[in-house]
């Protein structure tokens, strides 16, 4: 039994088709990199998994089809999304952002602030007044507060200063090493992805075109599909 299974996933935005067949399987606790150039369908795949857009094909978590569930129930089954562009609840403080999302489990206000000490320091600051990096940490913290079994990070280090990026990658490594959470990562940095992931799936023009262990991801393959 696999944890997350995506097979032949197709999705459309209105009349234009965005996904033509994406395959992806993940085991519990596994870190998978979802790679591809801009506009190839990475974010759309993630949105389909979270049921934020209409999709067809096989999409199961613990062998239960997610297609029958609304987006909030997918989240309750343990899928935590850190959306592209962070999208914190701008009018709420750091603490309020985290409290609003809280579900019972190991992740609490204290453990999230231990992972990101900057959030603890700015507990009573409004999300809108945080720096981009802090907002990103808050978005990750908010997803962790739901105590997910699958954490999806969509471009979590995009547009951030190198030092903040390093903090975020360090947190991701820590999550991998110390918790059993499975992580699906979308990012531009092949180097960082390779260092933390167990597996990679590459999508091109809405199809998954390559998948394998991270050891099999040769520079030639990433050059061909990702362009780096």
């Amino acid at each position: 039994m696999s944890f997350l299974t995506v097979e032949g996933l197709t999705a459309t935005y209105g009349s234009s088709q965005a996904l033509f067949g994406v395959d992806l399987t993940m085991a519990e606790g596994e870190v998978t990199a979802l790679m591809g150039r801009n506009g190839m369908g990475k974010t759309t795949t993630v949105k389909a998994i979270c049921r934020m857009i209409r999709s067809e094909g096989k999409l199961t978590l613990d062998d239960v089809s997610l297609h029958d569930l609304p987006s909030y129930k997918v989240a309750r089954r343990g899928v935590g999304l850190v959306p592209e562009g962070r999208r914190c609840f701008a009018g709420l403080t750091v603490r309020e952002n985290l409290t609003a999302a809280a579900r019972p489990g190991a992740w609490t206000l204290q453990t999230v602030c231990a992972l990101f000490p900057r959030l603890g320091e700015r507990e009573n600051q409004r999300a809108a007044s945080l720096s981009g990096g802090e907002q990103q940490m808050l978005a990750i913290g908010r997803a962790l507060m739901t105590n997910p079994r699958l954490l999806i990070l969509d471009e979590a280090t995009e547009g951030l200063a190198p030092i903040i990026r390093e903090e975020i990658w360090a947190a991701i490594r820590k999550l991998k090493a110390e918790t059993g959470v499975a992580i699906l990562l979308i990012d531009k940095s092949v180097k960082e992805l390779s260092s933390v992931s167990d597996k990679a799936v590459i999508v091109e023009k809405g199809r998954s075109v390559w998948s394998g262990s991270i050891a099999e991801l040769t520079p030639e393959i990433s050059e061909k599909y990702v362009g780096v």
Partner: protein, 328 residues
């Protein structure tokens, strides 16, 4: 000058309590009645503030719940005072003159109607939400006009104010005390709710409903619970308002009243704990003093609204605290 919002809140509540007590001493019962009116309107607006201020749902039909509460009181008291039976199909009752029972009925009826109405209206948003809530209230308005059994367009007079165990409700200050205590309890609930996970999630839903779903919360459920609570509070206020005037009429359902509730909140400060209370006090004072000078006093209310919208988006509280948003 920037003032702490907590101090402002405390000052408003104390002021609202001191004025009627002073009126007792100088024997000005009408001032007590005015203060009671302000308290009840504030309570109704606190109900609306829950969905408007925190949830961002602009209900232009909250008079519906105010009227439901009013008619719940009117009908129960009418039957009790005329010794006639109220036939409800499954059972019949002789009505009641007891305020606590009337309040519970007003709360229950408003909550049930809010629950049923919420299933439909909460699927819409923006201007459609405003219009559909208005439409529901108008339905009840026209129904009450044609409901001749309970006075139709002329309304229904209740000759003696209902009773509260251990108190003389005909004494203005005692009735004020009851209303003020209820307002305090509801304000306490509101402030607890505002910072509870439910209140925060509702606030987040106002900002971005899609993101709320990704953390496992159902925006529809959040909004429905808030809508039901909101309707119940405004319904309770309606029952008390009817008891204050000893009169219910279709005007309690009218869209003017829905609009006034919104205006009270905007004047005081949207989403602010004491916004509706300050708004209601200002409204009652203006209505009394300017209404004595000219019947066109609403012109001045309109000017105040304009000034608030242009220069003080956070209402009076926003102006005093120097913080425009309620959620800062």
């Amino acid at each position: 000058m920037r003032l702490n919002e907590t101090y402002i809140n405390a000052a408003v509540l104390i002021g609202l309590l001191v004025v009627p007590l002073w009126a007792v001493m100088v024997d000005e019962p009408f001032t007590i009645t005015l203060a009671t009116k302000a308290v009840i309107l504030a309570l109704a607006a606190v109900g609306l503030n829950l969905i408007l201020g925190i949830g961002g749902m602009v209900s232009f039909g909250h008079a519906l719940f105010f009227g439901l509460g009013g008619y719940a009181m009117g009908i129960l008291a009418y039957h009790a005072q005329t010794f006639t039976m109220l036939d409800l199909g499954l059972f019949s009752t002789g009505g009641t003159k007891m305020m606590p029972i009337i309040w519970l009925v007003a709360i229950a009826v408003s909550a049930v109607i809010a629950f049923l109405m919420g299933q439909l209206v909460l699927r819409t948003g923006g201007v459609y939400f405003i219009m559909i809530t208005l439409a529901f209230a108008q339905m009840f308005y026209y129904f009450s006009i044609s409901w001749s059994q309970y006075g139709g367009e002329d309304g229904l007079s209740i000759y003696v104010r209902n009773e509260f165990p251990g108190l003389n409700t005909l004494d203005p200050i005692q009735f004020f005390g009851i209303c003020f205590a209820i307002l305090c309890v509801v304000l306490l609930l509101f402030s607890r709710l505002q910072t509870s996970p439910f209140g925060l999630a509702l606030n987040a839903t106002r900002q971005t409903a899609k993101r709320v779903e990704t953390v496992g919360l159902n925006p529809m459920h959040l909004k429905l619970v808030a809508f039901v609570l909101s309707g119940a509070i405004t319904g309770l206020a309606g029952a008390m308002f009817a008891d204050l005037n000893r009169f219910v009429s279709p005007t309690m359902f009218s869209w003017h009243l829905s609009g006034e509730l919104i205006i009270l909140i905007i004047i005081g400060g949207v989403g602010r704990l004491m916004g509706p209370v300050i708004g209601a006090c200002i409204f009652v004072v203006l209505e009394h003093f300017l209404g004595g000078l000219t019947t066109y006093w609403h012109i001045f209310l309109g000017l105040i609204m304009l000034a608030i919208v242009f220069f003080a988006r956070g209402g009076v509280i926003g102006l005093l605290t120097g913080k425009e948003g309620a959620h800062v």
